[in-house]
């Protein structure tokens, strides 16, 4: 068994490790750093928002000022100076909001093409509609027309505020309230863009919807807000991807995602998160502090979260399901990889309220280099949740003797008819597994990739095809050099 190597030369990283690390040179309209009520008024005015939304933002902001940053997560980072961040940055050419694709700045189109996300519809993978968010603004949304024919609304949230204010007002903040937690409150105050999805009653969304988030400008934070509403009996599959340039400064990404599923509705939400992770010394990288929550309001509704988390310097993220409707179902499938000096504290909450609600949690954590990873989860079965069931499988794989893997599962059960089962294992890649592969002529690095992919298979199987391929590739790139 050869020894496990963690150190690599910095220049190797620039080429292999993070392919999305380039900067787009584009003129921007960026607010100077700092946060006060004027900044919020400015953002709201720029977006031509109605009075109620401005007030909602201000209320969240005032609440945020009374809150303290949470420090219970198993992560370490220097204090964040919230006054050193710019809360609004928009490419000049996009200042007037999203236009038709023909008018989108070619530089932006080029950026997305480089990332493998062609925005010209004829070039794009059939069957996937894309909303592209660049810093604080949505720059393009494809297939809007086709979706509209099916009754589906898919647009930037700022556009939804303008065109469908009643819908936004009815649902915004009903899953994650303005003062929910520190980062959610900050997001509610300053969110700039994000996607809005509305699937009307009985409609099966005819294509996959996806949003691609890109942070580009220096010293800005990205605060997007996504709201997905699935009415009775509808179905939607939504994907999101994220990248950012390679910089020595840390950048903050504090998003909020709210999902509402009514009776018999199904939402499948998949994420491939590949924000810049920083370098091997822990310099730079995105702080990814995200609040994602689904409200399974309706009977027999179902929400399924699938995430592949390979990027970010720090991840703090717990996509959750509130299982309110009787017989509603929540699922969480996660693969998280921490390497170099990445730290992730991630998991889920399943709150069982309705009768015969069911949840499944499958979490696969891989820790390499000096990475530190924690699974943090909560399964709460309320007294009302007669017959509730949960199954949790939580496995960690360790590569190298300087990394860490931690598990903090909270289980709270108040109903005697409930069944919950939690299993967790932690192990390293088996020497015998490696040896077996090698004796069949497979290189050690390939063998590690094969074993890791096998380890993640249960989760990758949940991803839509295009993303599964992407996820596999990301894991490979990320693990390159983890074993020498």
């Amino acid at each position: 068994m050869s020894e496990v190597k963690v150190e690599r030369k910095p220049e190797e990283f620039t080429h292999n490790e993070y392919e999305a690390g380039f900067v787009t040179d584009i003129e921007t309209d960026t607010l100077p750093p700092g946060l006060d009520e004027n900044v919020i008024r400015h953002i709201s005015a720029k977006k031509d928002e109605p009075e109620w939304l401005l007030n909602w933002r201000l209320e969240a902001f005032r609440h945020w000022q009374t809150m303290t940053e949470p420090h219970w997560a198993h992560v370490n980072y220097p204090p964040i100076d919230y006054q050193a961040i710019s809360y609004y940055s928009v490419p000049k050419s996009q200042e007037d909001g999203p236009k038709s694709l023909d008018e989108v700045d070619p530089k932006l189109l080029e950026t997305y093409e480089k990332l493998g996300i062609p925005l010209r519809e004829q070039e794009f993978l059939a069957g996937v509609a894309v909303d592209a968010v660049f810093d604080s603004v949505s720059v393009a949304t494809t297939f809007k027309g086709k979706l509209k024919d099916a009754g589906v609304i898919f647009c930037p949230i700022s556009e939804a505020v303008r065109d469908y204010p009643e819908l936004v007002q009815q649902y915004l903040g009903t899953v994650v309230p303005g003062g929910d937690n520190y980062y959610a409150a900050l997001n509610s105050a300053v969110f700039t863009d994000g996607s809005f999805v509305f699937i009307p009653k009985g409609v099966r969304c005819p294509m996959e919807l996806s949003t691609y988030f890109r942070i580009n400008a220096l010293n800005t934070g990205q605060f997007e807000r996504t709201l997905i509403i699935a009415e009775e009996g509808s179905y939607v599959s939504y994907l999101e991807g994220c990248t950012a340039p390679q910089r020595d400064e840390n950048q903050l990404h504090a998003a909020v995602v709210e999902l509402v599923a009514l009776d018999d509705a199904q939402i499948k939400y998949s994420t491939v998160q590949n924000w810049y992770p920083g370098d091997e010394n822990g310099v730079g990288g995105i702080y990814n502090f995200v609040t994602k929550r689904a409200d399974c309001r309706g009977a027999r509704s179902k929400v399924s979260w699938t995430q592949v988390e390979t990027g970010s310097a720090i991840t703090w993220k717990y996509p959750s399901c509130v299982l309110r409707g009787d017989d509603s179902v929540g699922e969480f499938y996660s693969v998280a990889l921490t390497k170099m000096r990445q730290e992730a504290d991630t998991g889920t909450k399943m709150i069982h309220i309705g009768k015969n609600t069911k949840s499944t949690i499958v979490s696969k954590g891989i820790s390499a280099g000096r990475g530190q990873q924690s699974y943090r989860g909560l399964v709460r079965i309320a007294k009302s949740a007669e017959g509730a069931r949960n199954f949790t499988q939580c496995d960690s794989l360790l590569i190298g003797d300087n990394c860490g893997a931690h598990t903090f599962p909270y289980v709270e059960v108040k109903n005697s008819t409930a069944t919950m089962e939690h299993e967790a294992t932690t192990s390293k890649i088996g020497e015998d597994q490696l040896f077996y592969c090698q004796s069949r002529g497979i290189s050690e690095e390939d063998a590690v990739n094969m074993i890791v992919n096998g380890f993640c298979k249960d989760v990758f199987n949940e991803l839509p095809m295009e993303f599964a391929v992407e996820a596999n590739r990301l894991m490979e790139v990320s693990l390159e050099g983890a074993v020498g």
Binding site: D401, T407, V411, V413, T417, H422, E423, T425, T426
Partner: protein, 416 residues
Amino acid sequence: MSASLQQVRETAWQAFEQQGLPTTRDEDWKYTDLSRISALLGEQWWQTVEQGELDVTAADIPELDAWRMVFINGHFDSETSELPAGITVTALSALIQDDPDRSVELLEFEPDAPLSSGMTAANSALAIDGACICVSDNTKLDKPLYIQYVSNGGTSHLRTGIQLGKHAEIEVIEHFVGHHAESGLTNHVTAIRLAAGASCTHYRLQLEAAKQCHAGRVEVNQLADSSYTLHAVELGGLLSRSDVINRLNASGASCHLNGLFVLASRQHADHHTRIEHNAPHCKSRENYRAVLDGRSHGVFNGKIVVAEGAVKTDSAQSNANLLLSSNAEIDTKPELEIYNDDVKCAHGVTVGQLDKNQLFYLTTRGISEEEAKQMLTFAFADEILAKMENKAVRRFIEKEAFSKLPNITDLEGMLA
């Protein structure tokens, strides 16, 4: 009292006055509200009180052949005690008189120790008695040492130290008992040190009176190839919280923690355990089960920490819970903190009902569903008790545990 002991007491008292009791806002105390202690016992809840004599033999474990040490309301009772020769067993109260420096060592308060709280500080400041046991190298105590802590209310702070030399061996049965109707508090700390190759089997049987509050702490430090086995049983008291800190500090050390809660009415029991793998080639096994009836509330938090360099760690933890009543509650959190890759760690938690296939099987043998449920409940809990090698203790606990569950009708039959 020597100056240094005085200092230890004062430092601890100051720490207590500063910290007070932990609250449910502290992560480690999230599910256990200690304000009930001050509410139950009044503002000066921490004050020790001396109360009358008790018939201690009434509380004995039948057919247990053992040396005995008895503490009544926090004070050593030499009359009912029968101490072994050959090893050093003294009461802390005597040690404070005769060898204050050694008592300092035992009573010192470490504010940074894991799960240390105002309760631990109060114990450092106020404990005036307890058992001090020293077993020298290569010595094995011929019979178990049975320590009875009997209370009839009031507050007792007790501190017990067990120190085993190389390859020494002991079986200690700590039994907390009372039959009084008033509320009271037992605040007890056991500190155990095991030298290389030493072996300690420790029964900790909490059968306090119905309104008693119980705070326990067991701190174990283990050296190479030593082995420690704990059988922790929570049956009595109204509010009980115990912390077990087990450090595997040298290669080859192993520990087995077995725990059983059988709770009914409004009982609340909380166990926080922390096993630290601080050296390579150590092994830990932990099995906790709870059977909760009535409006009882069980809390289990089991943390396994594997330090950097603790390679070839082998650790397994399991926690299973059975809710018999729709008003019972369990909060459980099995935690792993692992800082090295050469480990084998697993944990599992279940909360649920009796196995349907097993129920069906039993009914096809002509057993009524109700009785089948009783049998399976008994079997569920008895899996933990089956790990007890001391048959007298096991039988005693089986009877005490299952007589609490009103539905078990043929206990004698199941035990036969």
